[in-house]
């Protein structure tokens, strides 16, 4: 590692906007040194609906994070990693082949970079652009391999590859970039929330062995299947916590904010719940909440089962965001009784974990105590810092090899 570097990230949530600052140390660990939040305004269902309001919310969160910066540093967030969620994201698979023209017939890094570039081209459409690209499988003379390390130095005239792209809707990404630009930031990279979560709540072993992350946000419920250290499948259901609140507001004829309070307060063991001086029947609240939750879980569970992931999940199913604090987990456990299904929180000890020294972006922080370990909502912002550090390292590697960009994260 040449020198310390500082990374910034902004999580544009529909309920909360979060900002964080991290310092990458020479040993590859990443120290979280600044964190700030603000109530989200102008962002609904993961889209910017009111650019001015969203800009103000971003400014507040960023200011809070900058003022919070520890370690006697002064830092201003300029280039940032930004989260994306929900319906503006799609997953796509494709295959490509590249001829090996090297003199010795061996597969080298250059050829692997050529494959990345081929996928970048394939995943770029008129209205969508790639934000993450993963090569999920290589085929060299009928031998299938799942990692770059395995195919490097192999002999072969032609290399085939299967790629998985996570694509964002160009118009919405541009709108987000414009809003952040007006707030004084340049978007360095976009990151899908459940990709970021993978770097904060999963261990490298869990990312390797087959794990599902489900992030139930305010505007959507996203999930990703991690295996062999990369994302192999994603999905998004356009329903989040705000939908439950809206259902309560409409069904029980009450204001949205009171409904939000009702949603957080109701206890199944009580027959009634009082909000704003009015009593509501718990049974009615529960009917509305359970109908939404069951529908959401059922969609996600069907996706997992129908797309062949079930037999590959060795790590477990991990719930973040609102999913980690609702009846979501009971439904999920019912659907996947033979698997470990549990709430997940950022793994961020006070001191850097050096058991996996090759893993760049190992999060730690001596400054926040247990703050993050109990806040599932912070998984995306923290994971983005780790992702930004990894992406930066590989971009640098590729640039130093004379190739513009390198996507595949180890």
């Amino acid at each position: 590692m040449a020198k310390e570097k500082i990374y910034s990230a902004i999580d544009l949530g529909s309920q909360t906007v979060r900002a964080a600052i991290g310092r990458l140390l020479e040993d590859g660990s990443l120290e979280v040194i600044g964190y700030g939040t603000a109530s989200s305004e102008g962002i609904i269902k993961g889209r910017i609906e009111d650019a001015n309001a969203a800009q103000e919310a971003v400014k507040k969160a960023v200011l809070a994070a900058e003022n919070d910066v520890k370690a006697r540093l002064t830092f201003r967030m300029e280039e940032v990693a930004v989260s994306v969620t929900g319906q503006i994201i799609t997953g796509e698979q494709d295959v490509t082949t590249v001829s090996n023209n090297s003199r010795d017939g061996k597969i080298g890094e250059k050829l692997l970079f050529d494959i990345d570039s081929a996928f970048e081209e394939r995943f770029t459409h008129k209205d969508r652009k790639p934000i993450h690209i993963y090569v999920t499988e290589y085929v060299v003379d009928n031998v299938r391999e799942t990692s770059q390390a395995s195919v490097l130095e192999m002999q072969g005239e032609k290399i085939g590859a299967k790629g998985f792209g996570i694509l964002g809707d160009s118009a919405n990404l541009d709108k987000m970039a414009g809003t952040l630009n007006n707030a004084g930031h340049t978007v360095d990279i976009f990151c899908f929330d459940v990709v970021a979560d993978g770097y904060s709540v999963l261990t490298p072993e869990q990312r390797q062995s087959g794990s599902i992350i489900i992030n139930a946000g305010a505007g959507s419920t996203d999930f990703a299947f991690w295996k062999n250290g990369i994302v192999q499948f994603i999905g998004s259901f356009p329903v989040g916590g705000d939908h439950i609140t809206n259902d309560l507001a409409l069904g029980l004829n009450m204001p949205f904010k009171a409904a939000e309070e009702l949603k957080c307060q109701y206890d199944k063991n009580e027959t009634e719940v009082r909000v704003g001086g009015k009593l509501y029947k718990t049974r009615s609240v529960d009917t509305i909440v359970q109908a939404r939750t069951e529908e959401t879980v059922r969609y996600i569970a069907d996706q997992i089962k129908q797309n062949g992931m079930l037999s590959q999940i060795q790590g477990g199913i991990f719930l973040t965001g609102n999913a980690a604090r609702s009846s979501f987990i009971s439904y999920m456990r019912r659907e996947f009784s033979s698997l470990e299904v549990r709430n997940a929180y950022p793994i961020i000890p006070a001191e850097a974990d050096n058991n996996n020294p090759e893993e760049v972006g190992r999060l730690f922080s001596p400054y926040y105590g247990n703050k993050f370990q109990t806040d599932s909502g912070s998984s995306t912002i923290l994971g983005m810092l780790a992702y930004a550090a990894k992406e930066d390292l590989h971009t640098t590697k590729k640039s130093s090899s004379g190739i513009f960009k390198f996507f595949n994260l180890l």
Partner: protein
């Protein structure tokens, strides 16, 4: 019906459909008997010539395929309408098999279905294969359009997506393609059992036709089990995603179901009662279930085939819930809750969360017509 003999024609349309029918004929024709005839219909002469199916009908005049253009597929079928009419003459049940990734299956299936429906009393069903989820959006969209067009003329459609339900992805690719044939095989087996076996509890052919004529989406599944809970387990397996053709709809939305249970004489009343009660509790009592028990003492295991029909597309299903008024119990008495617009509430003015035909911004309790007490 020819010479008072029930006649079922299984017709593959296009390359994918012809492959399916060729495979099924090769493997199952002997078991099914002579009530079943197998046809392949294609625009591509060479492809058709390479198929093993007994009866072949080349449509269109060029013989060179459609270059994945459904319009060309439909035009070819219209040009050869006389050959098609001759093919489906006297048929009682026409089961059309097609893949919706190309031109012939997507375009000609509707034309053949219309011609078959012209036979008085003929029941027409289609088993169609949709592209893999990783296929490009152009292919997906073309398949959606083709499916919509087919649904306009074919009353009962069994859609199945390529690759769905494959748990072990290391199986050979050809096995994945063949997995979609199971819809048709299950359907044929059900018809064979109903028409040729003595039933202990009656499910006669007219009841099967009643189920098979109910318009809408259809699902079929097959399950086999042994042990004390064999019937329940076989039913669970039959309706699992691995074994059942899943679409964007739920078994709970089925209006009719034919349920065939096959096993030896040891199947107990308790086994049947428990399994049926569980099934009905899960799918709801609004679904009319016609079931038949077929006892064959040579069978070691219990086998179940479940065929459900009458499922609307999600969009169609959700609409009526919003057009009807909903009763909400108030404190002490009942109050009427009026029509709630989809634009009401927090999401007003935002892009609606349309997903697979449903606007998910609309509250679930309204779409499902759940009763809310206030």
């Amino acid at each position: 019906m020819k010479d008072n003999k029930l006649l079922i024609k299984v017709i593959g349309v296009g390359g994918c459909g012809c492959n399916t029918v060729s495979n099924i004929e090769k493997q199952y024709a002997g078991m099914l008997g002579d009530n079943f005839e197998f046809y392949g219909v294609d625009t591509d002469f060479i492809s058709l010539a390479n198929q093993s199916v007994s009866h072949k009908v080349q449509i269109g005049s060029s013989g060179i395929g459609t270059a994945k253009d459904p319009m060309k597929g439909a035009e070819a079928a219209q040009k050869s309408i006389n050959e098609i009419k001759s093919m489906i003459q006297g048929v009682d049940i026409a089961i059309l098999c097609a893949g919706l990734s190309g031109g012939t299956g997507s375009g000609a299936t509707g034309v053949i279905a219309q011609a078959a429906a012209g036979n008085p009393g003929c029941v027409v069903m289609a088993s169609v294969t949709l592209p893999f989820y990783y296929d490009d959006s152009k292919k997906q969209e073309a398949a959606k359009v083709a499916l919509k067009n087919i649904k306009e003329v074919v009353p009962v459609v069994l859609p199945v997506q390529n690759g769905v339900g494959i748990e072990d992805e290391n199986v050979p690719f050809l096995d994945v393609l063949r997995a979609t044939d199971r819809n048709v095989i299950s359907l044929l087996e059900m018809i064979k059992v109903i028409t040729s076996s003595a039933s202990t509890v009656s499910l006669d052919f007219s009841e099967f036709l009643n189920v098979a004529s109910t318009p809408g989406n259809a699902m079929i599944g097959i399950g086999e089990a042994d042990g004390e809970q064999a019937v329940s387990v076989a039913i669970s397996l039959a309706r699992s995603p691995k074994n059942m053709s899943y679409g964007d709809y739920s078994l709970k939305d089925a209006s009719k179901m034919a349920l065939v249970i096959m096993g030896n004489g040891t199947i107990s009343y308790k086994q049947i009662k428990d399994a049926r009660t569980t099934l009905q509790n899960e799918i709801g009592y609004q679904t009319e279930v016609f079931n038949g028990l077929y006892v064959n003492n040579d069978l070691e295991n219990v086998k179940v085939i479940m065929f459900a029909t009458g499922m609307n597309d999600p969009k169609e299903a959700s609409a009526p819930a919003f057009q009807t008024e909903m009763t909400v119990a108030g404190p002490g008495d009942q109050v009427e809750m009026g029509f709630l617009s989809a634009d009401d509430g927090y999401f007003k003015g935002t892009a609606p969360a349309y997903f697979e035909g449903i606007n998910y911004d609309r509250p679930t309790f309204l779409r499902k017509n759940l009763r809310i007490e206030q």
